[in-house]
């Protein structure tokens, strides 16, 4: 694997439907073939990565991929809820507190997405894996671009949330032991009205669940905050490289550049940009008699134009890898290996 991908953490990002998951699998396989103990992680609920690696789709923990190579290869499915439950178990001061959180109705319905906690849980798991040190390389697949931006900013959002006044307000003893809303006179006229507004809009029942949730969760927050800051540093460190995958064609260029800039502005290290599934160019045009030939020749020219446009806008020195559209999507180890090799050889060129 080229120097551009020698990082211990490789995060594959890009829009939906561009073949990110397959590419992540082939990069992981390539890494293991080169002797690195490698873990491929995905939290795509369709479990495509597991399918392509031929592991049991019902396995919830790391499953080792049957493969003879110098390095070991395993695949895992990230489950945000499971990671969250594990986190609660780790930080809760006692069993009673743990139970109080896990059985709270608010936790059940809302906690998963509150302030990006769902995405945060995935990054948290990444941090856990890399600090355990079992794997010399981790390749992480991510949800489509826009969610990926949420995903990468999850640690910031958690810290922002914990530092904001939201938590202070949420932790106020809003309810007396009988479950009635306490007078909030101290907040003054405006404060009372704001609270009354939430009360009227969403109903007392939900507010009560929320308050209970935050109170039960309070002892966990400091641990959370510390960890979120560490995760944030990890994503910006030299240990981490982002591989940005794009589809072919000029209409994709703007989106790809946008995401590349967002990553760099956030202080993350952009590795190779991959244009995937590029239609090959016609070697001669004698064959353009049939509809299919004419269309494919046009697609070949279109995709070439897209690659060149992206290359010039990215700046000539940035590594850009174009991978050809294959006859069939790689799903077995042999075709994944071929894709990984194509990537590596194009990167070195």
């Amino acid at each position: 694997m080229s120097a551009a991908l020698e990082a211990p953490l490789v995060i594959v990002v890009g829009a939906g439907g561009v073949g990110k998951t397959t590419l992540a699998a082939s990069l992981a396989l390539d890494s293991a073939r080169r002797g690195h103990d490698t873990l491929a992680m995905t939290f795509d609920p369709s479990r495509r990565l597991k399918d392509s690696l031929g592991v049991d789709p019902d396995a919830v923990t790391e499953a080792s991929v049957p493969f003879n190579g110098p390095g070991r290869l395993a695949a895992s499915l990230l489950d945000a809820r499971q990671t969250f439950d594990r986190l609660v178990a780790r930080y809760a001061p006692d069993e009673a507190a743990r139970q109080r959180i896990l059985t709270n109705r608010f936790y059940d319905h809302l906690s998963g997405t509150l302030a990006g906690m769902l995405e945060y849980m995935a990054v948290e798991r990444l941090w856990e894996v890399q600090s355990e040190g079992t794997w010399s390389r981790v390749v992480l697949d991510t949800p489509p671009t826009r969610q990926a931006i949420d995903f990468l900013q999850a640690p910031e959002r958690i810290v922002g949330f914990l530092d904001s006044g939201a938590l202070r307000i949420a932790l106020k003893p809003w309810f007396d032991p009988d479950g009635h809303l306490r007078a909030t006179a101290k907040l003054g006229f405006v404060g009372r009205n704001v609270e009354a507004f939430f009360d009227r809009m969403v109903g007392l029942e939900l507010l009560r669940d929320m308050a209970e949730f935050f109170q039960a969760f309070a002892p966990l927050f400091e641990g959370f905050r510390t960890r979120a800051l560490e995760v944030q540093r990890l994503l910006r460190s030299d240990r981490c490289r982002f591989v940005l995958v794009s589809g072919p064609g000029p209409e994709r260029v703007a989106d790809t550049l946008f995401f590349a800039r967002r990553l760099q502005e956030a202080g993350m290290r952009l590795g190779p940009v991959v244009v995937n599934r590029v239609h090959p160019e016609a070697t001669h045009d004698a064959d353009e008699q049939l509809a299919g030939h004419r269309l494919l020749a046009w697609l070949g020219r279109r995709d070439r134009r897209g690659v060149e446009e992206l290359r010039s806008l990215l700046g000539g020195s940035h590594p850009l890898v174009d991978l050809p559209l294959l006859p069939d999507e790689p799903t077995d180890l042999a075709s994944l290996t071929a894709l990984g090799e194509a990537f590596t050889s194009r990167l070195v060129d």
Partner: protein, 303 residues
Amino acid sequence: MRASSLLDQLAERQLLIVTGKGGVGKSTVCAALGRRLARHGRRTLLMEVDPRENLHRLLDVPPSGGEIVPVSNRLALQHLDARSVLDDLVREKLKVRVLADRVLASPVHRHFTEGAPGLKETGVFGRALRLLDGHVPRRAEVPQVVVLDAPATGHGVSWMAAPRLVSDVISSGPIGHMAAEIASFLEDPQRSAVVVVTQAEEMPVQETLELVEEMQRRLDRRPELVVVNGLYPELPADFEPAPDDLLGLLWAQRRTINAREIGRLAESWTGPTVHLPLVAVDGGSALTTAMERELAVQIEAVR
């Protein structure tokens, strides 16, 4: 009496939700469908919620920036930011300006609306319903049909199921009532329709089949139409490309996959389906025109 075509049936619905994975050409199908409905005589509003505006480029109009932009006769376009839809809702419910500003500035509000699942989706559907009810800005036409370009999510059904989730969690208050009302609208096939866009490849077909199953399970309904987009041309009989005919070989292989996946889809999905070809047009309104022509022929033929 002549049985009504699929186009007639879709045109009777007030809300068409167009869903599908990213990269399958969902926005193009949306634009083509919107144009077709407008030509069919319905005042149509195309509504887009993806943070990055896209539809205007397929219709050659300036970006909406949140406004209702007229596109052509009976067709308009609006881009909505889900966040600001919710903020507007707060302003509307809290009539005192200083209180509304205070709520909007409050981190509690920000984190609550950001985090509570389904709230943003519910807000967007709520806005669509209000427009259909005639609450439009001055000089804008009241739409008869809203075509929603739903964001590409892992599982498209989560968008449609959001209002029911919200009404389950928030059982009282104006938001709870609004969510319940929207949920029953979305569960009524007389008023809303779901169009799923896919491609004849393994993963998109797999996800389409999962979506259909999930819709049945969670919403007790099926899509009104599945659009299979981006098909390679059919192969001539006895087509055998020469070993050095790389384009011919790739064409044959891709088309074979298309045929296999169309077959697999048809085994489980027997509802209305249209097949759209991959066309040699770069994008913009020329692409929309080409797709509209293809779509029109087929949805007017399906009974």
